[in-house]
Amino acid sequence: MSTAIADIHEIPAESQVNYLNASYGIKSWLLTLDHKRIGLLYLGTITLMFLIGGVAAVLMRLNLIEPTGALVEPDTYNKLFSIHGIIMVFFFLVPSIPATLGNFLIPIMIGARDVAFPRLNLMSWYVFVTGCVFALYAVAAGGVDTGWTFYPPFSSSYSHSHVVAMALGIFIAGFSSILTGLNFIVTIHKMRAPGMTWFRLPLFIWAMYATSLIFVLGTPVIAVTLLLLAAERLLHVGIFDPAIGGDPLLFQHLFWFYSHPAVYIMILPGMGIISELITAFSRKKIFGYSFVAFSSLAIAIISFVVWGHHMFVTGQSIYAGLVFSVLSFVVAIPSAVKVFNWTATLYKGSISYEAPMLYALGFIGLFTLGGLTGLFLASLATDVHLNGTYFIVAHFHYIMVGGAIMAYMGGLHYWWPKITGRMYPDLWARFAALVIFVGFNLTFFPQFVLGYLGMPRRYGVYPQEFQVLNVLSSAGASILAIGYVIPLVYFFWSWNYGPPAGPNPWGATGLEWTTSSPPPTENFEHSVIVTEDAYNYPTADVTSE
C-alpha cells in the first residue's frame, strides 16, 4: 500500500472542530461566508452540470455508431451537441477548478483566513446557480441547436430553439466568473501572510492569478456579445444580419475574443495543479520556478491576441491570417516550457504513484499530444483542411478532457483528504485513472484520423467509410463514462466510511498541509509567518505530525 496513511498519533478528525462541523443545518450552508463551504457548494453544482453534459455526450456517441444515425433525429442530434458544448464549456470547465479547488485553497495556500470579499463569493455562487437554472430551463423547454458558438444569422434569425434563455443563462454565469476572478486577484494581491512574497507562492496561485486576469478582462466581452445577440433575436433588429447591413463576422470576432482566452481559463488552473502534484509526488522542488510562474502570465496575456485562428477560413484577409498564425505559434511556447519543466522536476526525485500522480503524469502526456496538434491548427495551410472537422474536436478534447479534467481529478484526489478529512481507497482510484486514460484515448484518438479524412464535425449522419473509426470512438466513450462513475462512487463512500486522514497524508509542503484535515473555519489555529520558498522539500521535515 502507499505511504498515504494517517499518522497513528493523529487525533481522529471527528473530535476536532473544523469548518464542516462548526455549524449544522441548511441555512449554515446556504448563507455561509466560508470560502471552503462555498467551494463545496460549487462542487455539487458543477458535478451535476457535468453529469448532464456527459449524458448528452453519451447519447451523441451512441447515435454515431450508425452512419445513418442510430438513435436520434437530426434536430435532436443538433440539440445534443449544442447542449453538450454549452454545458461543458460554460457550466463545467470554466468554473470547475477555480470555483471549487480555487475557492477552497487560495486563502489557505497564501496563509489568509478567507478571500477578500466573502459575501461577494457567496453571491457569485448564487449568480452561478441562477445561470444554471436558465440553462437547464432552456434544455428542458426543448434545447438549443446553434452549437455552443451561436453563430448568426442562424442563431439570430433562423433557429427555432431557446437561444435567448440559454444566452441569458451564460450571461448570468459569466458574472459569477467575473466576481470570482475579481475576488481572487484582490485576495492574492492584498492578503498574503507575512513573508509570503510573490516568488514564494505555490505555482497553483500563480496559475489562478493568471486565470483570474482572463476572467475579469475576457468575460465582459462575451457578456455584451450575447446581449447583442439576444436583443437581435428578440427585437428583430439587425446587428449581425447582413440583410440590413449587419456583419455576421463581427459576432465571430467578438465571440472568439472571449472564447479563445476562455480555453486558457480552462487549462491554466489545471497546469497549476500539475505543478503541485509533480512536486508533491516526487518530493522535490519544481524545476525552473520562475519560468513556470511567468509562463502562466505569458499564456494569459498572449491568449488575448490569437482569436483570429478560429476564423482562418471565413474569408478574412491573408494578412490577418498571417498575423494570427504567428501569434498562435507564440502562445504555444510557454506551454512547452511548462511541460519540459515538469518533466525535469522528476529527475532525481523520490517518486510515488498514488492516484493524483497518475492523473498528473497522464495530463503531461495527453496535454503534450493535444497541444502539439494545436500546431496543425495554428499552421494556416493545414488548418484550411482541418477546420470544421473532427480533428478540431479531437484537439480540444485532448486538452480539455485529457488535460483539464485529468488535472481536476488529480487535484480532487490530492486535496480530498484535506477537504473532507477522509481518505478514499487508493487502489480503486488508480484503477479508475487507468480506465479513464484508456477510455479517453480510445474515444478521441480515432477522431484525429477521422478529421484528416475529412469528416466534418456536428454531423449526426456520415458517409459509410467513416463508420469503423466512429464505432471505435463510441466504444471508448462508454469506457470513459464508466471511468468517471467509479470516483463518484468511492468519493461518496469515503465521506462517511473512509479512514480519517491526518493533516499531511502525502508528506507534502505547502501551507494547506500544516493545518488539520479538515481545516478549522479560520483555516489556521496559529498565525502564519512564511520564511521559506515553495516546495522546500530537501530541507523540510517531510514526515506527518
Binding site: T3, P153, A381, N387, R458
Partner: protein, 334 residues
C-alpha cells in the same frame, strides 16, 4: 539539405502508413496542393509523435529509475540551468518558425487564384448547394470540373453561413450571406470526391453534401455542352438587365443618368468622395442592393434598390453580364 529533409519526410510517411494498417489515414489527393498539404501534415505528425514519445519515454524512465524506495529519501537539490531553459524555449520556437513559414507559403499560394482561372459560381442555401457554370449548366450538390485547369469558385449564401469543403482538395472556405468569398483549386486526378458543408447551418447540415466530379478535358467539354440549362450566365444576366430596363439609365455611351457599364469590371471607378475603388463582384452586388450608399463621382445618387427582387443566382448572372460588356465590344471592334 533538401535531400535530407525529403528522406526524413519519406521515412515519416512510411512510418505513418505502416501505422495505418487497414484504416486509411488520408483522403485521396486530388488537387495540386493536396500533396503539399499532406507533406506538411506528415512533418507536423512527425514532430508531434517525436515530442510525445520523447516526453512519455523520459517520464516513464524517470518514474522507474527514481521511484521511491524508502520514506526517508531526500532527493538532491537540482538547480535549473538557464541554458537549459533557453534551449527548450528557443528550439521549439525555431521549429514553430519553420512550420509557420512553410505553411504560410502554401496558404498564400492557395489564396491567390491565377488570373486565367475558370470561374464557377456557388450559392449555398439550407440545405443544398446551387452551382452554375458561366457557360450555363447548373448543378445541385454536384460540381463537374476539368482536370488540370485552375477553377475559381465565387460563393455566397442565401441564408446562413455555410462552408464549402472538398477533403480531397484539402480546401475549404466559409460561404457567407451578404458577401462573396472565393476558393480556387486545380484538380489533379480524375475521380469522384466528397463535398461537405462544414459550417453548422441547421437541421440538415449533415445532409448538405454532394460530389465533385473531376473529368478529363474532353469529357468535361462533352458534359458542358449537353443538358437543357445551357444558356450562358452572361446571357441570362442580359435578360434580367433588359427585364428591369437597367439600360434606361445605364446607357452604353455614358450619356444616361447612370454610368456606362461597358468595360468597367476590374477597373477602378471614381467615387464622389474623391477616392477610387476597383469594380469587382462585391461592388456590383452592393450597387444592386444598397445603391447610393457609396455614390459614384459625377452621378446623382438616385438608383433604386433591388433588394428583395433579385435572387443570389440572378445577381451572379447580372455580374457575369457586366463582366462580358466591353469584352464583347473589344471583340466586335476588331
Amino acid at each position: 539539405m533538401m535531400g535530407l529533409s525529403q528522406f526524413g519526410l519519406n521515412a515519416t510517411k512510411a512510418a505513418a502508413s505502416s501505422l495505418a494498417l487497414m484504416i486509411p489515414m488520408q483522403p485521396p489527393a486530388a488537387s495540386t496542393i493536396s500533396g503539399d498539404i499532406d507533406q506538411l501534415y506528415y512533418l507536423l505528425t512527425g514532430i508531434t509523435l517525436f515530442f510525445t514519445v520523447l516526453i512519455f519515454s523520459i517520464i516513464f524512465y524517470f518514474m522507474v529509475k527514481y521511484r521511491r524506495r524508502s520514506n526517508d529519501e531526500r532527493p538532491p537539490d537540482v538547480h535549473s540551468p538557464l541554458v537549459l531553459e533557453l534551449a527548450w524555449t528557443v528550439i521549439p520556437s525555431l521549429i514553430c518558425v519553420v512550420i509557420f513559414v512553410w505553411s504560410s507559403i502554401l496558404y498564400i499560394r492557395s489564396s491567390r487564384p491565377p488570373a486565367a482561372a475558370t470561374e464557377i459560381f456557388v450559392v449555398g442555401k439550407q440545405w443544398m448547394w446551387h452551382l452554375q457554370h458561366p457557360e450555363g449548366p447548373r448543378e445541385i450538390n454536384e460540381l463537374h470540373v476539368p482536370v488540370g485547369v485552375p477553377v475559381k469558385l465565387t460563393m455566397t449564401s442565401q441564408d446562413v453561413i455555410h462552408g464549402f469543403y472538398v477533403p480531397a482538395f484539402r480546401l475549404k472556405k466559409d460561404v457567407l450571406p451578404g458577401r462573396y468569398t472565393s476558393l480556387w483549386f486545380e484538380a489533379s486526378e480524375v475521380g469522384t470526391y466528397h463535398l461537405f458543408c462544414t459550417e453548422f447551418c441547421g437541421t440538415n447540415h449533415a445532409e448538405m453534401i454532394g460530389w465533385v466530379y473531376v473529368m478529363s478535358p474532353e469529357d468535361y467539354a462533352v458534359w458542358l455542352s449537353g443538358g437543357e440549362n445551357s444558356e450562358p450566365m452572361a446571357q441570362q444576366g442580359e435578360q434580367i438587365f433588359n427585364h428591369y430596363t437597367c439600360g434606361y439609365c445605364h446607357v452604353a455611351d455614358g450619356t444616361g443618368r447612370g454610368p456606362s457599364l461597358v468595360g468597367i469590371f476590374g477597373k477602378p471607378e471614381k467615387l464622389s468622395s474623391g477616392e477610387s475603388r476597383v469594380v469587382d463582384e462585391a461592388v456590383i452586388r452592393q450597387a444592386l442592393l444598397q445603391p447610393n450608399s457609396v455614390p459614384v463621382a459625377g452621378y446623382a445618387p438616385i438608383m433604386p434598390t433591388f433588394q428583395g427582387q433579385l435572387t443570389e443566382e440572378q445577381i451572379l448572372q447580372l455580374i457575369a453580364y457586366v463582366k462580358s460588356l466591353g469584352v464583347q465590344e473589344r471583340a466586335s471592334a476588331r
